[in-house]
């Protein structure tokens, strides 16, 4: 939702010629840190998310995996992903990941969105959809490198995790953080969360998880939802978490390159037409009759007639 108490650093479909609300000078970047090594897959965070946000998704069907609901929807903003894997030694490993919006520093959803103000990025780093401004075009789905936004079949507006922007704005942590019984989810300033992550990564490494590390992908400028992964060298093990996410070059081409080229095309076409018209004038028709029938006798009397009628 729109937060009058927040500075806004980006607003969808809005040029930067006039400043956005920036009166506050002390807003901190926040971050949620999800330590997958501590997650037991209890889905308490999913319940807390539904409760706080008043979301009640339809009861689905078992599709043969523990993921439940089977996917993110307009009414399910976070899902625990369960991925089984056999490691090099043939030992079974269960990789869990709480999936949801990453609150990218360079959000592809916001870049793609054509509706002014339908997506805001606050100075604290939260990327929030303003659903009443959303037109339901689905461009955000194409823009997001993480396949997060979903459009409701009921109301044709896009939805995703808000990072509980309403709670954060009044100094509370997101509902999932408050609920998590194992302490796998932490919330604080981005700097604090990076420090915490560094400690956890060290612990994990000292216990033999050499690949442990922080997932804060630089390709999208870093994120405000970060993971501590036991296999940070292979993020895609965790339910196709992109190894190196970035806004697709196709989306960049469309939004950053084609737009100015298109604008130039318009200016050139209109200016070209105008200059041509000024230069050569209207292409009028010479209504005097053709020269060739003059040889024929009866045209001698016809020609003046035609001219007379035209006049």
């Amino acid at each position: 939702m729109g937060m009058q108490s927040q500075d806004i650093i980006r607003r969808s479909a809005t040029n930067g010629l006039t400043p956005l609300p920036q009166a506050r000078s002390h807003e901190q970047e926040v971050a949620k840190l999800i330590d997958v090594s501590l997650c037991t897959g209890c889905k308490g965070c999913q319940v807390a998310c539904s409760e706080w946000n008043d979301l009640r998704d339809e009861i689905g069907h078992n599709v043969g995996v523990y993921d439940n609901p089977a996917n993110l929807t307009a009414e399910t903003w976070t899902v625990i992903r369960f991925d089984e894997r056999e490691d090099e030694a043939g030992k079974l490993e269960w990789l869990l990941r709480k999936e949801g919006c990453m609150h990218c520093a360079e959000p592809g959803c916001l870049k793609a969105c054509p509706s002014p103000g339908a997506i805001l990025q606050f100075a604290n780093g939260i990327v929030d959809f303003q659903s009443e401004q959303c037109i339901g075009c689905g461009y955000c789905i194409a823009g997001c490198p993480f396949d997060i936004p979903r459009i409701s079949q009921k109301d044709n507006h896009a939805y995703k995790c808000t990072l509980c922007s309403d709670r954060v704005a009044v100094g509370q942590e997101p509902a999932c953080v408050k609920t998590c019984p194992t302490g796998a989810i932490s919330f604080g300033s981005k700097a604090e969360m990076k420090d915490l992550a560094a400690t956890r990564v060290q612990e994990l490494q000292s216990r033999g998880h050499e690949g442990a590390g922080l997932y804060d992908p630089a390709g999208v400028g870093g994120t405000h939802v970060m993971y501590v992964l036991t296999h940070a060298d292979q993020p895609s093990l965790y339910h196709r978490l992109p190894d190196n996410p970035q806004i697709s070059p196709v989306v960049r081409g469309w939004k950053e390159w084609l737009k100015p080229v298109g604008a130039l095309g318009f200016i050139a076409t209109l200016a070209g037409a105008f200059v041509h018209y000024m230069g050569v004038g209207a292409n009028t028709t010479d209504e005097t009759p053709p020269p060739e029938p003059k040889s024929k006798q009866d045209n001698a009397e016809h020609d003046p007639n035609e001219n007379g009628r035209d006049a």
């Binding site: 509706s115 037109i135 461009y139 196709v250 209207a282 010479d286 209504e287 009759p289 016809h302």
Partner: protein
């Protein structure tokens, strides 16, 4: 000017196809531009509030495509390229500089108009296919996201190219006096036909509608 100086160039049914397509296209193009250039967001209000514009744009786009297909059937045989189109290309500079005089062997449509015809046909077809793909309410979920991205880009490129082409088309209509009136009433003057479409005049107009030899009242 009486009937003997006027020749029917575009039949009523074809004019109706043309102008209904123009009406739908204007609405589709303006709403499309409002999303491509968000600073021109206000253009989209021709279709009501933005959410409604998003609903209507694809349906109107389908109407444009359907009308285009009708026009394709009606016009394609006049728009096949022929050898004499080369003459027009060779004299393109004279044509643009308003230098009349030479016989350019122009049929019912000149080579530039034929390029426009095929350009519009292919661009609207591309817009139709890519538009269906990115249509959130019905089809977008059937395609993987990387394909949707390409479809969105293709839709934008084709939309821009088409609008620029149509601006050129409108300008030509304004520049060549008598064209717009001709597309509304269907009639152009004999002299207009002779000057702008000499081969059409000689092959199709003059034989079927000879100049009257006597003044009639």
């Amino acid at each position: 000017m009486d009937n003997s100086t006027l020749v029917l160039r575009t039949k009523l049914i074809d004019r109706m196809f043309h102008w209904s397509m123009v009406s739908c296209f204007t609405l589709v193009a303006l709403s499309g531009l409002s999303w491509f250039f968000p600073s021109l967001n206000w253009l989209g209000y021709v279709l009501g509030p933005p959410q409604l514009a998003r609903v209507l744009h694809p349906f109107l786009g389908i109407a444009v495509f359907a009308l285009l297909m009708c026009m394709f059937v009606r016009f394609v045989h006049h728009n096949l390229f022929v050898r004499t189109d080369l003459t027009w290309f060779k004299h393109i500079v004279d044509v643009l500089l308003n230098k009349h005089g030479q016989k350019l062997q122009i049929g019912k449509y000149n080579a530039g108009q034929k390029i426009l015809f095929w350009g519009i046909m292919s661009l609207i077809s591309l817009l139709f296919v890519s538009g269906l793909m990115i249509w959130r309410a019905y089809f977008a979920a059937l395609f993987p996201i990387p394909v949707l991205r390409l479809a969105l880009l293709a839709h934008s490129v084709a939309g821009l190219a088409l609008i620029l082409l149509v601006i050129g088309h409108i300008y030509m209509g304004i520049w060549v006096r008598g064209s717009i009136g001709g597309m509304i009433s269907g009639y152009v003057t004999r002299a207009w036909a002779r000057q702008h479409h000499d081969r059409w005049y000689e092959e199709e107009v003059a034989p079927t509608k000879p100049l009257p030899s006597k003044r009639h009242g």
